[in-house]
Assembly symmetry: C2
Homo-oligomer: 346 residues x 2
């Protein structure tokens, strides 16, 4: 089954509404920047690489009906839309990378008529999506080399087709290994508070015919100590130049548990996830999300007493010392990370 998370269709950004999964596979057609902003904020579309594509299409949405008469006027609209989109999810660097790519495309075409610039922007957004597709597949070839027959692989959150345009980063390596004929099984941490592991990863793996077992995040240590896990593969939302990796909250937990149990811990992420302007993970901004995500299950029934204080960071930072290797489309980056990232990601 081909999963197409985000695409340009019917003059709109068509996305899978990830908040409707696993109950329904429902598509949304977004026709304005503000609709897209809301969809990003509500996590109807999420996943670092998918957000890069969303940002790119979003900038095109912002200008496609513009009445700007020249590049300067158009640029002001682009800047405003980029600032707005950038405010939706501050941690995912791919989102900012997508915005930057689009601004560059506008700049490169600044001497053309506005209609031509608009077309160039749509072309660039489509290239970014195509590139994401291709990057995931390249990455998966490197990652699949790390996977042996009969491996049991633990993952957190969703770094699959639903986190990218259509193939996945961490899960992409698993799809590739399966395509190459290896048998494997995945353990998916459910990933509180919003259960991306239960709702998205379990759904996606089942759709792709891969054996999946779900667990609560806090059962990971028991699972590892039972000897059932051979390796951990996760995605990333932003990687600092020393290899410190921001990813969905809980990733750092899992990395520590993996270290204690002598289980290799891999990060799979496109080069666009690296932020070389950040020296270490301490410099990465961490989005704090609303208490209701924790106190009200999926925003409905309360499961905690009213008014209770909540600690709800969307991400945590895994120190590079706990990471065995980073899988990218340019190959596998091993420690020492500071040196090897500089060489690969520049």
């Amino acid at each position: 089954m081909r999963i197409r998370t985000i695409e340009w269709k019917n003059k709109s950004v068509r996305i899978i509404d990830q908040t409707a999964l696993p109950a329904r596979l429902k598509y949304l057609e977004l026709r304005s920047v503000s609709a897209l902003w809301r969809a990003i904020k509500k996590l109807q579309v999420r996943g670092a690489p998918a957000l890069g594509a969303a940002a790119a299409l979003g900038l095109y949405l912002a200008v496609k009906d513009s009445r700007a008469r020249d590049y300067q006027e158009l640029k002001r609209e682009i800047d405003r839309a980029a600032d707005h989109l950038g405010s939706s999810r501050p941690t995912a660097v791919n989102l900012f990378w997508g915005l930057k790519m689009m601004r560059l495309a506008a700049l490169e075409n600044r001497n053309k008529p506005v209609a031509q610039i608009k077309l160039a922007l749509l072309r660039r957004a489509k290239e970014i999506m195509k590139e994401d597709s291709s990057v995931c597949r390249k990455m998966s070839r490197y990652g699949a080399e790390l996977i042996r027959n009969n491996d049991n692989i633990l993952t957190v959150c969703n770094a699959g087709a639903l986190a990218t345009v259509d193939y996945g980063t961490a899960l992409g390596t698993i799809y590739r290994a399966k395509e190459q004929g290896r048998r494997l099984s995945v353990y998916a941490c459910e990933t509180r508070p919003l259960l991306q592991g239960a709702r998205l990863t379990a759904w996606e793996l089942k759709a792709k015919g891969i054996k999946v077992t779900l667990l609560c995040d806090n059962a990971a240590a028991a699972l590892m100590s039972s000897g059932r896990i051979d390796k951990v593969i996760v995605g990333a939302d932003r990687i600092a130049s020393n290899g410190d990796t921001a990813n969905k909250v809980g990733t750092y937990n899992i990395a520590l548990l993996a270290r204690y149990h002598h289980i290799p811990f891999y990060v799979a992420a496109p080069i666009s996830t690296f932020d070389l302007s950040k020296r270490t993970g301490k410099d990465i901004p961490i989005e704090q999300r609303h208490a209701r995500e924790v106190t009200h299950y999926l925003f409905k029934k309360p499961s905690a007493p009213p008014g209770v204080a909540v600690f709800n960071p969307a991400f945590d930072v895994t120190p590079h010392s706990l990471i065995s290797a980073i899988i990218t489309e340019k190959g596998i980056i091993k420690p020492p990370f500071a040196k090897n990232i500089r060489r690969t990601a520049k």
Copy 2:
């Protein structure tokens, strides 16, 4: 506010229905062994020490209207009820301890008329409850010595008044420290799948006027690395003779994270929680619970695709090497545990 989790009232076992919290403080009056068995299974009453009291009252329920004519006939009924009650939660050793205490009471009174034996059983069950109350308070005095002013304490699940007859083990030490004038704040891991931390611990701490912050279990590593946690205090469901501790799933996770972040990790449990017949944690049976606890939030709406496999142990085992000390009513047991537990718990 006094919380009375379990008591003998109106010729029935009166419990707080813990599945109704935090929305409502609702009491149930259980008048048969099978009603009590169901209440235990559904976790309407839970917590290792409270289960000891429930088991004791349950055996009295089983015989109070018995038509047995002598000890032998009564004993057969007691044995049958004990086997039945023991099957409800295999990990909590206090439950078996409660059953054993009651059988002993019957044995001690075997030469009396059946009516007298029944009375002796009710008396013993009430003593067990009173003893639990007193044990928690003794334990809390030792535990409170470990707590300093302005401490931020992390806990998992619920080892409070709701897990005991009326005061708590891990949370009891916190109540005592507060009564002694210390300021402190508690971080409660929500404790998936059944959210005892969010539903019970947050409710109970608020009721007792203690500052509480809720977090998803997988945010604990981020919280610890922020430097905000001074110590961890948890309860226990069974402790092997070497100090390995079975407690709510996720405890082992937290113990590992605490070790990495150099945070002391304490277990608070009455002596009745020790099972000296178990050499290590490997010998402790771990209850596996139903997949629906994970896939259907509190048994209602599904949050995972239908039919997904689930790993859902109710407990995990924290190796003794990760435990700083065990707080009991006979004092604080420090490593080497094998030697010091033998000395204290025999």
